[in-house]
Symmetry: C2
Subunit: 689 residues, 2 copies
């Protein structure tokens, strides 16, 4: 299985209408365009009044890349263990690891602040398509992009009325639709409960395929003005009965990104270049970090997160690459594309309007082919390399902040200011030994990708080894100190220009001068061209096939649905659910099949037949981690935490033959809280007592 945090970095971002009738239960639906006809026709389900609003308002987004839901009237949020890892590790001490021992706040006073977790609740969607399109009419290329950016900035600024509000213009259908998403933002989030990691990833849930027996859960609480948030109006109650095979179920979550209807040229670029680079670089990173974790027990706490994410990323890119290279997916896409192009070609009016879009995208992809490895190692991969990314943000912020808002890179616009500040000023601890390894990894990928004789490599490495250079920069920098980052953030261009910090100097004088023009080149000659022409293709599809499909995922709230169901893999029947008893049967006392002491102590009081995890057909991808799983009545039946291996192809298309989403069941959550962790306070709260 793969966890569903939205960590995957894809550099081609595009979207589109379904080109052909959707497969059973395919779709990640926006709350303003729910598939009511399909639900009625396929599942004889018509939601009662208020049902959708209740689901939306009871669900939340965790800004770092997860989903969650309110499950009590006092702001209690249910999400995954792996969504609260960072928090639990930050709260660990050298002598008491929350990964090893878990955590339960005995009283509300014991609930502990998670500095990295921000909770967003979607309170409204406003259509702003006309406003944006009026601003971009008649423009193309950089002029289109600049006008679009300026118009979006105006809309977002008008909505962002305070620190407790977050407004994003969401671009759907490649600009066919612009919607303004307004969230209530909560930044005081505290850890209530997290089980031992051994229970959360039992059976090596990071890379294990279904069937799983993992309790991948956590509980945090949203505070507002120092008190638990009142969610009496909007929270989910636990269903009395578990979801059973054949039951219709719903997922509300924030799928991060799909590329369902990219052109064949774009998918080939993913298959041929981008995913293989990810596979190799993520694998190298994982190999490095897993050995570090084994060799340096004193670093294991911090490193385990990186081992976890490294393994996840490497597996994800491998499975996505397989979906594109070793299944019929790309051929099916090519047939759909050929079909649509033939229909367009048969109509001169459509040809005049849309006929050139595919070739324009192919030309942009050809341009990308000239810069792709360079763009990956200089511009994308620093995002995984720790402090250098902070330095890049600080250096760029100084330059961008001096420009008019609409001319800045998106992340440096006023509307993104809170997110930028949250990233730069995060109180998460910084471990120099780990930072050195992350940076050394980044630097060590330059030569393999660009060649040692490349002028950029010579400029960036000189005649230092990647590890020596990384060690020198990390040893000398003060960017691990939040106050120092704050000074440089607030100090702007003058502070950056005057900074003697070796990492700032390195980024300012050596790295950014190489990567920044690459970003501009990419934005203008790849991203903007693909976006504009993808929009044309979406419009062409609309003209030919009519409306009624879901847009690609954008890490915004969506509704998906499906049915609890097993499947066959390699001729072997895979069950629709697993039980607590199976976990005990598999327990060896050693990783990865190690039940913690709390489980062993509680065994006599547990019903071994209690369902633990459940598989179902809903269409989900990364970002859905922590999503509530709901029955027809909007009651909680589970906690989504993974997809199986086949589900990883979901980036490019959903096929329910083998792809399954996976959730912890509500009976297991209740049994764990009541009988394993003795969280009586929490159980009573959930039950509304």
């Amino acid at each position: 299985m793969r966890s569903l945090t939205s960590m995957f970095v894809a550099i081609l971002g595009a979207a589109g209408f379904a080109a052909s009738p959707a497969l059973a239960d395919e779709g990640m639906w926006t709350f303003d365009q729910l598939p009511l006809q399909r639900l009625a026709a396929d599942h004889q389900f018509t939601p009662p009044a208020g049902w959708a609003d209740h689901l939306r308002l009871s669900s939340v987004r965790l800004a770092l890349g997860c989903s969650g839901s309110f499950i009590s009237a006092q702001g209690l949020v249910l999400s995954n263990h792996h969504c609260a890892r960072g928090c639990a590790q930050g709260l660990s001490t050298p002598t008491h690891s929350l990964m090893a021992f878990g955590f339960l706040a005995a009283t509300s006073a014991d609930e502990r602040k998670c500095p990295d977790i921000e909770v967003n609740q979607l309170v409204g969607i406003t259509h702003v398509t006309d406003q944006i399109k009026a601003a971009t009419a008649g423009r193309s290329g950089p002029a289109f992009r600049d006008a679009e950016r300026a118009a979006i900035t105006v809309v977002e600024k008008g909505c962002n009325t305070g620190a407790d509000v977050r407004c994003d213009v969401v671009t759907l259908f490649h600009g066919g639709v612009y919607d303004l998403y307004k969230y209530r933002r909560y930044q005081d989030v505290r850890l209530v409960f997290i089980p031992e990691e051994a229970a959360a990833i039992f059976g090596d849930a990071v890379v294990a395929d279904w069937p799983l027996r993992a309790l991948d859960m956590s509980l945090v609480r949203v505070y507002d003005h120092g008190a638990p948030l009142d969610t009496s109006a909007n929270h989910f109650t636990f269903a009395a009965a578990p979801a059973r095979p054949g039951d219709l179920v719903f997922v509300v979550g924030n799928p991060a990104e799909t590329e369902r209807l990219n052109t064949v040229a774009e998918l080939e670029e993913e298959r041929d270049v981008l995913l293989p680079i990810h596979m190799a670089d993520d694998s190298e990173f994982h190999g490095l970090m897993s050995e570090t974790a084994r060799e340096s027990p004193e670093l294991a706490g911090e490193v385990s997160s990186l081992v976890f994410s490294g393994e996840l990323e490497a597996s994800r890119s491998t499975l996505q690459h397989r979906a594109l290279s070793n299944t019929g997916l790309l051929a099916a896409r090519a047939r759909q594309e050929t079909d649509l192009r033939a229909r367009i070609a048969a109509d001169s009016a459509l040809t005049a309007r849309y006929g050139g879009a595919w070739d324009a995208i192919a030309a942009a992809v050809s341009h990308l082919r000239q810069i792709d490895e360079r763009f990956m190692v200089l511009e994308v991969e620093p995002q995984e390399a720790g402090l250098i990314e902070e330095a890049i943000v600080l250096v760029r912020n100084a330059a961008e902040a001096a420009k008019p808002d609409s001319e800045r890179l998106r992340f440096y616009r006023d509307s993104s200011r809170p997110a930028l500040r949250a990233e730069v000023l995060s109180a998460a601890p910084v471990y120099p030994e780990v930072e050195t390894r992350k940076l050394a990894w980044l630097l060590s990928r330059l030569q393999p990708h660009l060649g040692s004789a490349d002028p950029a490599v010579i400029a960036l490495l000189g005649n230092e080894s990647p590890h020596d250079l990384a060690a020198r920069l990390v040893a000398g920098t003060r960017l691990g100190d939040v106050a120092q980052r704050q000074t440089l953030l607030d100090g702007g261009e003058a502070a950056i220009a005057a900074s003697p910090d070796p990492l700032i100097v390195y980024v300012r004088d050596r790295w950014n001068p190489l990567s920044r023009p690459l970003r501009d080149d990419y934005e203008a000659n790849v991203a903007a061209v693909i976006t504009a022409n993808s929009a044309l293709i979406d419009q062409a599809r609309l003209a030919v096939f009519g409306a009624g499909a879901d847009p690609d995922a954008t890490f915004t709230p969506r509704l998906a649905y499906g049915v609890v169901r097993g499947y066959a893999h390699g001729g072997v029947a895979m069950p629709p659910q697993t039980t607590i008893g199976e976990a005990f049967a598999l327990d060896t006392g050693r990783d990865p099949f190690r039940l913690p002491k709390s489980w062993l102590d509680a065994k006599a009081g547990l019903d071994m037949a209690t369902p633990l995890d459940v598989a179902f057909t809903a269409d989900i991808v990364g970002g859905n981690s922590g999503s509530p799983l709901l029955d027809r009545d909007g009651r909680l039946v589970g906690l989504v935490f993974a997809g199986n291996d086949a589900a990883e192809g979901g980036t490019f298309g959903y096929d329910d033959t083998e792809a399954r989403a996976i959730a912890v069941t509500v009976p297991a959550i209740r049994a764990a809280l009541a009988h394993i962790y003795h969280a009586d306070r929490i159980v009573r709260e959930i039950d509304g007592e």
Copy 2:
């Protein structure tokens, strides 16, 4: 650059005639079919009588994957530092590392045995095509393969007259030609000189691109019946003048493997599946091992070889993948294939004979697509995973030895017995800590590639973690002991059946039952079909375009030629040669630009303008490491040790726009021996004094 040992494991092996006029200086020519017309036409060179025999007999193959040459009358062999790494490491002690300090035998009595190095000298080529083809006439599929194997065995047995002879039937042009290569085999090989590793890989020569300043050399001596081999008749003398830009130069070496004219279906399988798997798995291995080397100084000696090979393999697969995915190579191949098929289709007789070959190969590749990841992780990757490969060889040997020779897998036939014994009974030391990591790496790749629910993965891992299982097997096995391996090798089926050794039991009862049928499936339904139909395509090319091309590389002696010449990369001019002075100018005292003390001490006595490394256009690939570089008169001007990054595409085709071979110059070798290492005894020997 990439070193040129023949370590790359490609699972598709095929070959062919040039489909179109060869590019300038493309070609790796067998000694019985030298390109005399092209040399005369393109370079106004006609070799004098005896020239080719002299080159062939003065050159050698190092059986582990390198090339070399005799450079004195007393059996002195010049090859690369990286070809003698294993020997130097085996001779190192915890307190004296030959990697760190180098080695110079003060007297011949101080020359030290290299247990792993076997030297082969090609003494004759006999055409046996008619004999093999008579045996295979009218057969196809497994029957063809069995008949071919049986006939080859008969020929090889008739030639193998003793332990000092090695005979191999070499299959060229996919079976269009079978030649019997007879070698004089030398197994008493002793280390004479090796510089410090820091000088040999100065500038991180493992992954660095040209320009380089590395002294990647070593000297060993062949002994015969306890005395230095008399090579007075066949050795190279040093040229008085260095090779200069524009000079014609020759390389004699053993290029390991090319896939120059595989079909598009095969190349797409490489691009889509096989190379990405290599990229990811090799990168994970390299990440693991490089961190192990850093964290465990006590293991660094042994591990450094694996870091080296892991980096090499990861880089090689990355560059080969790039050649297939991000250059025009595959498109050019597709055009050539379409052209040839059109010519065949235009002639009904040719169509009847050859027309089905491409589709048959495509069908075999489709079959491979069903098993490729499984075949890679269960059958190919154990070759890099240490002791488990020994266990596989022992378990299979027991079963194969009981069969008639012609029915065995190739490696278990009598003709391969010496190589098998040499591998199993190698005296190379075994480090349990390193073995655990290698095996854990292998086991950890099962889940990502096959999924944890795959029956094979369940059978192989049970509910142990990869690392725990590896640690348990390595801790319990006695296979690290040569005597134990000898007992199991000689004991045959009874010994294997009775063995309680946990690694033997694991392979015998769990691994081999899964991997052996896969090997049979691959041999019968992929390899045999591709071989037979590739032969048809070769014949079709011959029928359409006529003869006169070189066969794909087969790790047998070949002649290549070219011109000393720089090139342009990314708009930057790359020089044709570098100097000793440049190495001093780049020296930082720290890896990777660290000159050893011997160089610093000798600086005053060195001419800084002495050429150090040289780039030239000859067509070489892995296996050419250690090849002599010769002038028109057959005098030594250099020692080949690398190709630049672009040369890595050589597996699939040679294009001299950027691809260059790289050699250490003879003036540098002489200067180093005389003035840095004070090897006066050796210099006098080379000079014939």
